[in-house]
Structures are given as structure tokens and as C-alpha cells.
């Protein structure tokens, strides 16, 4: 339709132009009317030119397509918050083995976590892009509530491990959702691994300062980009949010000048904005995710890095005491992106913790 409209408008404009010139050649107001007509023709051509451009929400143009746009991607349908949505997932390992969920953090998808499929030697490893993130279907703000994120875990469990306990790993924001899942479904989980959840209570966040570095060139580039790319749709927003992974704004790293790699297919921009605004009230943190966490009596492994503000020291001080049976794993020479910064330490620590490895010994 775009190309047809362009041709129609262009043809009409050129035809009118020549017709007008012929009729008004002797007109005393020829000059003024000619200028007016030039302006109309120019505007019409520009208008039709705009129509021939690609739209920013065209699937796959700016960012990879989601599962509802690309039927070639592996997906399952789950019902959360009253809506049926498709999620992108991958499964590794024998179906007879105990199930281990691995959940990505915010501004991410499962791509960076794929090396953890190594655990499929003892587990049925299930990874998925959460709704509104990665290559899973984009959803509304209401469907991204914290209650819905916990419900999502429950729905995925019903699909992959009905009637059996799971082990579960969550990183960053997902570690927060896992903590809530433990509180609401304590009997459904055998072991839980929480990799650097931020403060599970607002008071814990008051100890953190200097986490944002707005003086980076990455952030200034993002400011400059704001003048020509406004996030009117998920595609532009996710595309722009991809830049934050290289911006160095979040001071979670050992070396902010040399940021560690973090491979992604597509980030979930709207999800992160929704979650972060959900814990703020008039610019201050106002939330408490700790309610009921003492109900879970299984083993919990808190993982904290050396360099991140929510690393080892933070987890030990604020989170270890929230659980009945928690240990803290310290990852040296690493910031928040533990998987790409010090994978050997992480995988060894996980294997020492997970029951399927302990039982095999």
C-alpha cells in the first residue's frame, strides 16, 4: 500500500503541476501562485516519501521478531493475568530428570544464560524469555505486575513439572520474583538460587548509593538519541534499551571502562520501566518483598559478586537472614554479570550446591 500511495500522490502532483503552469502562464498573480503551488507539491512529495519509509514496528526491522511474529521460534502458550500469551523457551536434558528453571534478569533474555545448559547433565533445564522480555510476546503494563510475574513461574511449572518440585535459579529482578515465588508457593520448590537480587525491602536500598553514573558517554549518546528516536512502540523502546547494556550507567562492574559482554537477542524495555516504577513512590523506594519468605524451609543459595553494589557483602548483610536455610556464594573478580565475568566460579558453586550433583557423588 505504501508504494502504491507514493506513486499515486507523485503522479497527481506532477500532473497538477504541469496543468497549473499552463493555465496560469498569463496570470498577473502567477509568481505568488507558482510559489504556493511549489510548496504544495514539495509537501505532497515529502508526505508520500514518508509513506514509503519502513515503519518502526515492522517485525524484525529494528529488533528481532517475537514468537507471535515469528512462528519458527519454539514457544508455548501460558495464561497469566487473564491473558493467553506466547513465551519463547528452550529445554535441555532428559525429561526424566528433576527440573531446574533458569530465569534471566531485566534488560536481558535467556541468551547469556545458555552456557548453564551444562547443568542438563543432571537436570532437565528449562529456560524461557519472560513475558514482555526477549523474544516472548509483548504484554500490557497490568500483565507485568509482580503478582503476574510470580504467576508466570507457576504456569510454566504446571507445563514442565506438574506435580513435582522444581529447583529454580533467578538473576537480578528474576531473583526477586523467585523470592516471592518461594513465599507464595513454598512447597513447590526443592532448592532455590538467587543471583544478586537487589534489596528485597526498601530499607535495604538506602545503603546503596552511587549506583548510577550519568556522566558516561554512553548515557550522553542516549540523551542525544532521544531527540530523534522516541519510544512510541515496543520495537523502538527495546532497540534503544539495547544501548543501556553498553552505556555503563549502572555501576555494577569491576571495570566501568571495559564492560563485560552480555549477549542478548532482545531486551524488554517496557518490562523494566514497569517494574522499576512499581517499587518507587514519589521518587523513593516503597516496597516489601520479604513477606512470607520465612515459610520456605528448603535450601537457598544467594550468589553475590565482589564488585557489584548488591554483591556478596550486600547479600550476606541483608538477605541471608531472611531465609531459614541460606548460604552465600562469593564470586571473585566479577560484577553483576556473573555468568560472563566469572563463569567457572559460578558453575562450580552451583554444582556444589545442587542436590542432583551431591547425590551423584
Amino acid at each position: 500500500m505504501n508504494s502504491d500511495l507514493f506513486i499515486l500522490l507523485s503522479t497527481t502532483s506532477i500532473r497538477d503541476f504541469f496543468l497549473f503552469i499552463r493555465l496560469d502562464m498569463d496570470n498577473q498573480n502567477n509568481d505568488v501562485q507558482m510559489k504556493f503551488h511549489y510548496m504544495i507539491i514539495t509537501a505532497a512529495l515529502c508526505f508520500s516519501g514518508i509513506f514509503s519509509c519502513t515503519k518502526t514496528d515492522e517485525p524484525g526491522a529494528l529488533v528481532p521478531a517475537t514468537v507471535d511474529e515469528d512462528p519458527g521460534l519454539p514457544s508455548i502458550a501460558i495464561s497469566v493475568g487473564g491473558h493467553q500469551r506466547l513465551i519463547h523457551y528452550r529445554v535441555f536434558g532428559d525429561s526424566a530428570r528433576p527440573v531446574l528453571f533458569i530465569m534471566h534478569g531485566s534488560l536481558s533474555d535467556m541468551r547469556a544464560y545458555l552456557p548453564l545448559q551444562e547443568l542438563a547433565e543432571r537436570y532437565r533445564v528449562v529456560m524461557w524469555d519472560q513475558r514482555g522480555n526477549g523474544l516472548s510476546e509483548r504484554v500490557s503494563k497490568e500483565e507485568l505486575s509482580f503478582e503476574c510475574m510470580v504467576q508466570e513461574i507457576s504456569r510454566v511449572k504446571s507445563h514442565f513439572s506438574p506435580g513435582r518440585q522444581i529447583s529454580i535459579l533467578g538473576h537480578s529482578w528474576s531473583a526477586v520474583f523467585v523470592a516471592r515465588y518461594l513465599a507464595e508457593y513454598p512447597g513447590e520448590v526443592d532448592q532455590a538460587i538467587l543471583m544478586e537480587p537487589f534489596g528485597l525491602k526498601d530499607a535495604f536500598m538506602e545503603s546503596l548509593d552511587g549506583m548510577l553514573n550519568l556522566g558516561t558517554s554512553g548515557f550522553m549518546n542516549m540523551m542525544y538519541t532521544s531527540s530523534y528516536l522516541t519510544p512510541r512502540d515496543h520495537e523502538i523502546l527495546d532497540f534503544r534499551m539495547l544501548a543501556t547494556l553498553r552505556s555503563g550507567v549502572r555501576d555494577y562492574f569491576c571495570d566501568c571502562e571495559n564492560l563485560p559482554d552480555w549477549p542478548v537477542w532482545r531486551v524488554g524495555g517496557y518490562a523494566l520501566l514497569t517494574w522499576e516504577s512499581g517499587i518507587l513512590e514519589k521518587g523513593r523506594y516503597r516496597y516489601d518483598f520479604t513477606v512470607g519468605m520465612g515459610e520456605f524451609d528448603g535450601e537457598v543459595l544467594l550468589v553475590g559478586s565482589e564488585c557489584s553494589p548488591v554483591g556478596y557483602a550486600f547479600q550476606e548483610e541483608f538477605h541471608a537472614g531472611l531465609f531459614r536455610n541460606a548460604a552465600v556464594l562469593r564470586i571473585q573478580n566479577s560484577g553483576h554479570r556473573i555468568i560472563t565475568e566469572n563463569y567457572p566460579s559460578l558453575i562450580n558453586g552451583l554444582k556444589e550446591f545442587l542436590n542432583a550433583y551431591k547425590q551423584a557423588e
Binding site: M39, A43, C46, F47, G49, I50, F51, S52, C53, T54, K55, T56, E58, P59, G60, L62, V63, A65, D70, G72, L73, R90, R111, L135, S217, G218, F219, M220, N221, M222, M223, Y224, T225, S226, S227, Y228, L229, T230, P231, R232, D233, H234, I236, L237, F239, R240, M241, L242, A243, T244, R246, S247, V264, W265, R266, Y270, L272, L273, E276, S277
Partner: protein, 249 residues
């Protein structure tokens, strides 16, 4: 047959097209002498941007009316100092006019067309767009104080994806190739913003005059709020200061 999105585009474009012939020479509020002006400015884009422009007074200005043509360049200097080498700049050209009525009440209008160039981590971007700016207020003995409103719209942006951006399309299908590839080319209507606030203009000394715009910016998007979007560098405020130097007639 027309979608709602198409209708919105038509409305936007119709407003701009109709506005063009309707623009009659209305004078700049304080600039009525000399042949033209050089203007150096500071803006809050990317924390700090500088601009340089030439304003040419259109012959035929009268005591209570004046209009000017202008062309200029704007560069985000902090980015340049950071040594990013991203060749960021903005070129603009346009028409400005203003009128003084009953020696007190002023209106001021401006239409700019702009072209930008910016290379960043996601790729190289070349947007083209237009900006409509209007102000109204009071003229005191020599200065002007009023409110302004501007609409900034990017008609199209040419996108060339970087290697980092293209990397996000790899390995999506295990052992296979995704059917989608990043598209380089022109994307339509990539940004729209409304800015509004207070304007102050005043002669400073000799041939110089100062113009200050300070206010808020609302990015027209359903996905970000006024403050939420600071995470992606979308600040909800703006500041622009320009110092004009009058050239000899």
C-alpha cells in the same frame, strides 16, 4: 481503508503543511535593526550542546514587524570532548518572524527544518525533521517575557545498524537461521516531542541580545512517563540560551 496510524500521520502533516502558507512575516520581538545576526547558543541536549547560526533580517521589516531567515549548526560538545568520534551534529535552517502590537503584546513564530547525523553503539542515524516554535508575551521597555511552545517532529530517520545491533539477530534459531534480518534504511515518524516553558529575550550590551528558553519536554510516547524515561536518556526538561550579535547593515 485508512488505519488510525495513517490518520494520525495525515493530521500531523496537514497541520504542518497548512501552517506553511499561513506564515506571514511577523517580526522577531526585539530584532529589527541591522542586516543580520550571528547567534551562539548553549542547549541541554546531551547535557551540553553548542550552536552557531546566522540570522538574516528579511528586507521590508517595519517598525512593528520583522522576519528572519536563519541557518546553523549544533554540536554536542561533551560528546566530542569524550573523544567518541561519533561525528554528531545537527544542521537546521528556517524562518522566524515576530510582531509587536499596541507596543506591548508580542507574538513570535519559527519554523525549522533540520538534518542530524549521529553514530552511536546501535548504529549510524540520520534523521530529518521539522520544528514549529511559537511564543507570546509582553514586551517591556527593551526586553520580552513570555511563554513558548514548540513541536519537534522527526519525519524520517535513516538507520544503519552497527555490528553490535546486528549481533542481536544471530543464533536465534538453534542450528538454523532466523527469517528476519536487521533492516537498514529509512524509518518514518521516529520521534515527536512537545516542549513548553518560559522565554526571555533582552538586549545585553551594544550589539548583543540574549534569548533564553527554559521549560519541560514531553516525549509523545505511551511507553515512558516524564521521569521513568530518564533511564534511556530522555530528560523531561530543556534549556536553551542564545547570544545574538548584530551585524553591521
Amino acid at each position: 481503508m485508512l488505519t488510525n496510524k495513517l490518520n494520525n500521520n495525515i493530521v500531523l502533516w496537514a497541520a504542518m503543511i497548512l501552517a506553511m502558507p499561513g506564515l506571514r512575516a511577523q517580526p522577531a520581538t526585539i530584532f529589527r535593526d541591522g542586516s543580520g545576526y550571528l547567534a551562539a547558543g548553549l542547549e541541554s541536549d546531551a547535557f551540553l550542546s553548542t550552536s552557531l547560526a546566522y540570522y538574516h533580517l528579511v528586507p521590508g521589516s517595519r517598525d512593528n514587524r520583522a522576519s528572519m531567515l536563519h541557518a546553523g549548526i549544533q554540536v554536542p560538545v561533551l560528546l566530542a570532548f569524550k573523544g567518541e568520534g561519533n561525528h554528531a551534529f545537527r544542521l537546521d535552517a528556517g524562518y522566524q518572524w515576530g510582531g509587536i502590537y499596541r507596543e506591548r503584546y508580542c507574538v513570535d513564530g519559527r519554523l525549522d527544518l533540520f538534518f542530524m547525523n549521529h553514530s552511536a553503539v546501535l548504529g549510524t542515524f540520520r534523521p530529518v525533521g521539522a520544528e514549529l516554535n511559537g511564543a507570546a508575551g509582553f514586551r517591556f521597555r527593551r526586553s520580552f517575557l513570555g511563554i513558548f511552545c514548540k513541536w519537534h517532529h522527526v519525519l524520517a530517520t535513516h538507520v544503519t545498524h552497527s555490528d553490535y545491533s546486528k549481533e542481536s539477530y544471530k543464533e536465534i534459531i538453534p542450528g538454523g537461521i532466523s527469517g528476519f534480518v536487521p533492516m537498514d534504511g529509512w524509518f518514518s515518524n521516529t520521534a515527536s516531542m512537545i516542549g513548553y516553558g518560559v522565554r526571555y529575550s533582552s538586549p545585553v550590551r551594544g550589539r548583543m541580545a540574549l534569548n533564553v528558553d527554559i521549560g519541560a519536554v514531553n516525549h509523545l510516547s505511551e511507553f515512558t512517563g516524564m521521569l521513568d524515561a530518564m533511564m534511556i536518556g530522555q530528560l523531561p526538561f530543556m534549556l536553551e540560551m542564545k547570544l545574538f550579535y548584530r551585524l553591521q547593515k
